[in-house]
């Protein structure tokens, strides 16, 4: 139940942040997910999905609204990839995913490290 709640909240927060122009929101949300969910085997995928979903959903919405074919071709050309229009799409999704994933990893690792240090401090 807790994992599901973290997942839903994470995805929604990341989506909202990106929608409002805060493209870095998935990293912050991922960080929060990592802190909130102590088990990294859950936190990391949730962070990655939140990042991917937030950037991916916005990309999908733009495609539905305007059609991104020409834009993707143009970006591929600008990047030097000729007419390989999938490359900018994949790059965009990867950036979103990495922001969420690294945020969650850092949050999770930090939380675990603090947990390890906690007894030493009290001793």
């Amino acid at each position: 139940m807790r994992v599901a709640a973290v997942f839903v909240a994470g995805v929604l927060l990341a989506l909202g942040g990106v929608y409002l122009g805060a493209w870095w929101a998935p990293f912050i949300v991922g960080l929060a997910i990592g802190v909130a969910e102590p088990r990294s085997r859950f936190a990391l995928p949730i962070g990655a999905i939140a990042g991917l979903a937030s950037w991916g959903a916005m990309l999908g919405a733009a495609h539905l609204r305007y059609g991104l074919g020409l834009a993707a071709s143009s970006l591929a050309a600008i990047m030097g990839f000729g007419n390989q229009r999938l490359i900018p799409v994949v790059l965009t999704l990867v950036v979103g995913l990495l922001l969420g994933l690294t945020g969650a990893w850092l949050g999770s690792a930090g939380r675990n490290l603090m947990a390890e240090r906690q007894p030493a401090i009290s001793r």
């Binding site: 990106v18 929608y19 122009g21 493209w23 870095w24 990293f27 950037w55 916005m58 990309l59 919405a61 733009a62 495609h63 609204r65 305007y66 059609g67 991104l68 020409l70 834009a71 071709s73 143009s74 970006l75 591929a76 050309a77 600008i78 030097g80 990839f81 000729g82 007419n83 900018p88 790059l91 965009t92 950036v95 979103g96 990495l98 922001l99 690294t102 945020g103 990893w105 850092l106 999770s108 690792a109 930090g110 675990n112 490290l113 947990a115 390890e116």
Partner: protein
């Protein structure tokens, strides 16, 4: 104090086991063995830092990935920005509502209730579709490209700041009176551009290139508009020809140089102003002199610097056409006008098509984004177009210096101190560079290596072109048109004119500098005696109005005959060789002969004319030279192709390939031995236009000219060299295209490319097989050809029909349907009607914007 023996024993044991040396360096005491969690945290921190760094700052060639690629505010917004629909917009600074209609092909029509609002809305519309192009153009002229692209552009920036477009624009602006209409237009225009910048930033619709390069456009100023105008002046009029001639003079010798690179063209041309001319008040120019070693070395050094600059900064020959037909020679009874300026063909194009309507200004045509006024087009009564006049507007001066007079130069009998101007050039990813520009009385010092050389360039003199264009747009007849052009100084253009009363005219408006002494086609001493002393009086510059023939034409050829009393430039790379002008003159004359009448369709046909006038002169002579010769089967087939050829450089013509290759081989066979024996360092192809005129003349009337008998080749005539060149041609084409001569079509060897302005090859159009060559009215020099008819306009005042097209599209956004939507129609020789604002507003597919204060 007693110690527990057990404890004492443990302490001793630990001390014995402890490593020697101070305790603080022991590993165990200094760094506790890291736990798995610590390692994990460290790795997470590293990975996060790497991802965030790439996201915020980019990595290697990649831009900052976050701002660049996020789907809401990044480059993907180009998809949304490409959408154009009906909308109401609020613009700061508007006085009254303005209506903008956009035709289905993107042509804009602006109807305003005040002149101020018209120019403001024009600025907004330009920036809406071309803001990145405008920013690029102003950065180019202001020497600020390095700021956004890094040190790759630093040489270019240094050169621009030395040359002085920015100083000229600032001076021009300071000289415009506060109540001058052009000042008010430029201010309103800037406000419109800035309205769009503000809007685009707030809606995340800045062009994707801003996002990818990671910068925001600065506010637009009227000086930026003057800089954009200066860019065009530089492209068309800043030449390095005197440096080229100096090196040729040194290596070939003054006698050959003066024979091969004469002031007056050796071939037969078609000047549009045949005279008679008023006598000149200046002394005749001197003959070619021998250039010294020091002069040649200085010229070579500066020349190599200029040739290393990107294309477009130095004018390298022009190619534009315009002509007009009087009402009494036209089928409709009204005057006809045709214009097709040939420029570097880019995506986005240099042109933006629009109609501007306000109480004081009605004009339709093309403007250059960044400037508020229509440059070529028509109003209710007159139409005009222009070609480059090609007269010499750049003069190089060798400053006399002495170590005893540091930072000074000798001029007019006294030592003068150089003025200096300092600039900071911000460089992306590097330290800001400081540049000090020295300025003599002649102009900026352009090099100090060896011989200090400064440049006098007409483009550095203030020229209130915006005001002139405003008055042209408001003119209703020849007198108003001509009077407006009195204030047009640079670049010098051949302005063709036709009006609704059947009148036609042509005038080469602009400065024709006068040098009373010396050899202006070479760098000259800067001591004062050789200075530019003035310009040819306006009434004596080349011009005609309603000539008896009823036709006028210009195609960058020398405008006047050898009787003209002033020096206006040499035949060597200042003026065009004249083949396009000859062809246009020929077609117009033949069509108009014997009472024939010309139509708008004839004008369109002539703009797409692929007949090579030079080929029509030379090929018959070549065929004579080959007559009776023993030829191989392939050579015979190639000769047969030429025998039945109509001299048209069409893509399906195999003869066109044979001719083109032959002419290059003929030039090479004649001149390359000289180049080799005299160790000429100038690339021979750089001066092919001049040498081609010589070769044409000798082939037709001096087949034993000494040029054919070059050192090492023995005694030769034109016929010998032609036969050899033909054989070389066939061998080369066989090797390249196979042995079947009938398949050597021009389209296989000649293509055209429309290059993306930001030099992104993936956004180019082409290469595509293309008709024409450098000599045809449908100009397509080079291979792939990157320049040509950048705008075609045909006006028929009798039918009141106005048709035009340019290759490209109105939008710089490659995701827009208007990025390259006109290219195919242009390629196929089609035109679109130039609608009035009223017609456009009610046309199918039109989009309407209501601009509100």
């Amino acid at each position: 104090m007693t110690v527990d023996p057990a404890v004492e024993a443990r302490i001793r044991k630990e001390q014995a086991e402890a490593p020697r040396g101070p305790a603080f360096i022991t590993r165990r005491n200094r760094w506790p063995r890291p736990s798995g969690r610590s390692v994990n945290a460290a790795l997470a921190l590293l990975a996060s830092a790497a991802v965030l760094y790439a996201a915020f700052f980019g990595a290697g060639p990649l831009p900052a990935l976050g701002p660049a690629f996020n789907p809401v505010t990044g480059a993907w917004t180009m998809a949304g920005a490409a959408q154009v629909h009906n909308e109401t917009l609020h613009l700061a600074g508007l006085q009254q509502p303005v209506q903008v209609s956009l035709e289905s092909d993107g042509t804009a029509h602006i109807v305003a209730q005040t002149d101020h609002d018209l120019f403001l809305a024009t600025g907004y519309v330009h920036a809406r579709f071309r803001l990145f192009q405008m920013d690029l153009l102003r950065r180019q002229g202001e020497g600020r490209l390095s700021e956004v692209v890094g040190k790759a552009a630093i040489d270019r920036d240094r050169f621009e700041l030395q040359l002085g477009l920015l100083r000229t624009a600032q001076l021009e602006w300071s000289q415009i009176a506060a109540d001058d209409p052009s000042r008010l237009a430029a201010l309103a225009y800037s406000q419109g551009v800035n309205d769009r910048i503000t809007e685009a930033e707030s809606t995340h619709q800045l062009d994707a290139m801003f996002t990818l390069l990671g910068y925001q456009p600065q506010p637009w100023t009227p000086i930026d508009s003057l800089i954009v105008k200066g860019d065009m002046t530089q492209t068309l009029n800043f030449t390095d020809t005197p440096l080229v001639i100096a090196q040729l003079d040194k290596s070939l010798g003054a006698d050959l140089a003066s024979e091969w690179f004469p002031v007056l063209p050796p071939n037969s041309q078609s000047p549009y102003d045949p005279g008679p001319y008023a006598p000149a008040a200046t002394a005749p120019i001197e003959a070619m002199r021998q250039v010294t070693d020091a002069e040649a070395a200085a010229a070579a050094d500066l020349y190599s610097r200029l040739t290393a600059l990107p294309a477009g900064l130095v004018a390298t020959g022009g190619a534009s056409n315009n002509w007009a037909v009087a009402g009494f020679k036209s089928a409709s009874g009204g005057a006809l006008l045709a214009g097709d300026p040939h420029l570097h063909m880019t995506l986005p194009a240099i042109w933006f098509q629009l109609t501007m309507d306000s109480p004081g200004y009605h004009a339709s045509g093309v403007s250059i984004p960044g400037t508020p006024i229509i440059l070529i087009g028509h109003n209710q009564h007159i139409a005009w177009s222009l070609t480059d006049a090609q007269n010499q507007q750049t003069f190089f001066y060798e400053e006399k210096e002495d170590k005893a007079h540091p930072n000074q130069y000798y001029w007019n009998g006294a030592w003068q101190t150089y003025k200096t101007v300092g600039y900071d050039i911000p460089v992306l990813g590097g330290p800001t560079e400081h540049l000090t520009v020295k300025v003599s009385v002649h102009g900026p010092v352009i090099t100090e290596r060896g011989q200090t050389t400064s440049v006098w360039w007409a483009g550095n003199l203030p020229s209130q072109d915006l005001g002139v264009l405003l008055r042209i747009g408001q003119a209703s007849g020849w007198q108003g048109f001509r009077d407006a052009l009195r204030d047009w100084h640079s670049p010098t253009h051949n302005f063709v004119y036709a009006d609704d009363k059947g009148n036609i005219g042509l005038i080469s408006a602009g400065y024709f500098p006068l040098v009373t002494k010396g050899q202006p086609w070479l760098p000259m001493p800067g001591t004062g005696e050789y200075d530019v002393t003035g310009t040819i009086p306006f009434d004596q510059i080349p011009q005609v109005y309603n000539p008896p023939s009823g036709i006028i034409w210009s195609a960058n050829q020398r405008q006047v005959t050898s009787d003209y009393p002033y020096y206006i430039g040499s035949a060597s790379n200042f003026f065009d060789p004249g083949y396009r002008a000859n062809e246009i003159h020929l077609v117009l004359s033949e069509d108009a002969a014997n009472g024939g009448k010309l139509s708008a369709a004839d004008m369109m046909g002539l703009q797409a004319d692929t007949r090579d006038f030079l080929a029509s002169e030379i090929v018959p002579v070549l065929l004579q030279a080959l007559a009776g010769q023993t030829l191989t089967a392939t050579e015979s087939a190639a000769r047969d192709l030429l025998q039945g050829w109509d001299y048209r450089m069409d893509t399906n013509s195999a003869a066109a390939s044979v001719w083109s290759s032959f002419w290059q081989s003929y030039l090479s066979g004649t001149f390359d031995p000289w180049w080799k024996s005299r160790a000429v360092k100038i690339d021979r192809t750089e001066v092919n236009d001049a040498l081609g005129q010589d070769l044409e003349t000798w082939t037709l009337s001096d087949t034993r000219n000494r040029a054919f008998s070059s050192p090492g080749t023995g005694q030769r005539t034109a016929v010998d060299v032609m036969r050899s060149a033909f054989s070389t041609t066939v061998t080369g084409l066989t090797r390249r295209l196979g042995s079947d001569a009938s398949t050597w079509t021009w389209g296989r060897v000649h293509t055209r490319v429309l290059e993306n302005l930001a030099q992104i090859s993936g956004l180019n159009y082409g290469p595509r097989a293309a008709p024409g060559d450098a000599n045809t009215p449908l100009a397509a020099a080079g291979n792939p050809s990157t320049s040509g008819p950048s705008w075609r306009m045909v006006v028929d005042w009798g039918a009141r029909s106005f048709n035009a097209i340019y290759p490209g599209g109105q939008s710089e956004n490659p995701a827009s349907a208007w990025y390259a939507n006109r290219v195919n129609a242009w390629w196929n020789g089609l035109y679109a009607p130039m609608l009035t604002a009223e017609q456009a507003s009610s046309a199918n597919g039109a989009v309407r914007w209501g601009l509100q204060p």
